[in-house]
Symmetry: C2
Subunit: 326 residues, 2 copies
């Protein structure tokens, strides 16, 4: 490991004391991050909901993305998994593999962004580990949440006849990434779409409201076709999507290939869910100006996904692709 | 990313289906690793204990270490954190950043080792993420355990007059690492000490038995001086250690610098704990032939650590050093 000269570097313990430990304040069971583990009591009648996602520089974010937004995205993509389960956020752990080239200003901005977002979402840092690496910055976050016993939303409950709904708009984040990678765009297009790529909005309130209403739910991280594929595979059903019904923002429509981005682009972190037609009115009542809800198709008994093109022609896209999770 | 030619590579989904998903079997709340998160119910009257550790190739393990042992070490160092809290293991999540050069045989051996160790310790895989990286293999594991409410062992409870105890022997792992790095050794020395470096024995049964007995506990991962320093800092006390009492294995004694390794070498994953003299008999009764327990000093009211050399001379080592955790 070669250390770049001239970069002020906090010792690891100072780094932890100054930048990281403050994020555990307000959660007594975090023990001030001074113990081997954190202690977490669950609310009566609740079960724990737990997931983990990793992000690597150059793969999941661009090395020159603002560090505070990288921290926020790491937290938000994990909160989005809680939203897809209908869970409430509780706390999180972070492991951080740091290359020698990352300076203290970067780290300070990273943890500042994390602090702002944990306050926004009402969660606390419960533990983790900082290590050095000879490779790119490598981040991992484990999110803990709670849900009343037996009410978690699942991927496997979709039934033939269910309507398929999606929150917000689709494809914006993928177009934002394309702009970051060089696609020509106006300033308005760039601002709106890059923001969607960098700053997911986990739909926690919607997920919570869908307990007892949705039969199946997932967040759109891999892309609509891939994520609907996960619901179909787990539920052992098929689906028919109407491409012309997909919610595409006005700014996305002004960029080439918005429909493709809406079908296959990842990183939107909207909720995709199914529910019986009898629930349509209750679902429609959950829509807001900021988070519209749109019916985009229906679950079928025959396996496989059929996408009806805007011109009425049915297609069968490959269901697998996008980011790889387990 | 340049892919090496001639290496059979499973697709990521096949990898997950074949190697990873089987590790979730037997834990219904893992949902077969097919959902956005896992669901975990805690036993009545228990709280959750949660910690995370990261390991990077070339930093925390050697690239040619056997992959199954790397997996085992990743799990065991986290289980050791549970042991230090007096907790029982429940489950874990793994994030895995994979360089293109890691072939399927390596991955299969890694997950096979994980499967064997999770069976040995009675825990299950609950989730995680596999991603690609242009850097070295970068691993992170979050461990979940449980402890009866209010009985967790902590670092902050040491009191003046407490005796300081340690399990097993100290320094073996650090000497094993030195042998791997080129220190001359006989085959017997190499076998015994390298094994201690590669395969920690988390002292879960001991930690459990120390609930209600120990006033403070930690596992020796950073080295005795550093980890005792964590207890002293959190408990706001000092300590006096007798170097001649340190438990050093016969094989370690046959290698140069065994005492230094016992004082400052990391990776032993023994339990270091304090308890009032009145508990000495109950503690001695917990010792076994495989896991001896040794009194090595006492907690003092004056802050600071004094190590009494074998020749009777007191020294004050720097308390910070070793691996960096938070």
């Amino acid at each position: 490991v070669t250390r770049r000269r001239g970069i002020a570097r906090l010792g690891e313990f100072e780094l932890i004391d100054r930048l990281i430990k403050p994020l555990s304040k307000g959660f007594p069971g975090a023990l001030g991050l001074t113990d081997d583990a954190a202690l977490v009591r669950l609310p009566e009648g609740c079960e724990l909901v737990v997931a983990a996602d990793a992000m690597v520089a150059g793969v999941h974010f661009l090395p020159d993305d603002p560090p505070g937004l990288i921290a926020g995205k790491l937290l938000r993509v994990n909160l989005s998994d809680l939203a897809a389960m209908g869970a409430d956020g509780l706390g999180y752990l972070v492991t951080f593999a740091r290359p020698a080239s990352l300076d203290d200003a970067w780290l300070a901005a990273f943890w500042q962004g994390m602090a702002e977002d944990q306050a926004r979402f009402g969660v606390h840092l419960l533990g983790g580990d900082t290590v050095s690496t000879t490779g790119p910055t490598s981040l991992s976050l484990t999110i803990l949440g709670t849900v009343p016993l037996g009410t978690a939303l699942r991927r496997g409950g979709a039934r033939p006849g269910d309507e398929i709904w999606v929150s917000g708009t689709l494809g914006d984040a993928a177009l934002g990434l394309r702009i970051l990678r060089g696609l020509a765009a106006t300033e308005d297009q760039a601002l709106a779409l890059i923001d969607r790529y960098r700053t997911p909005r986990p739909r926690l309130a919607l997920g919570r409201a869908l307990r007892g209403i949705a039969n199946a739910a997932i967040d759109v991280s891999d892309g609509l076709v891939a994520d609907l594929g996960h619901i179909l595979g787990t539920s052992q059903v098929g689906a028919r999507l109407e491409a012309k019904r997909l919610p595409i923002s006005a700014v996305a429509r002004s960029v080439p290939d918005a429909l493709t981005a809406a079908l296959t682009g990842g990183d939107d972190y909207e909720l995709l869910f199914t529910a019986p037609p009898s629930a349509a009115e209750r679902i429609a009542a959950l829509a807001t100006a900021e988070v519209p809800l749109t019916r985009i198709g229906e679950i079928t008994a025959e396996p496989g996904l059929v996408v009806v093109d805007p011109d009425g022609r049915p297609r069968s896209p490959a269901a697998r692709g996008g980011w790889q999770h387990f």
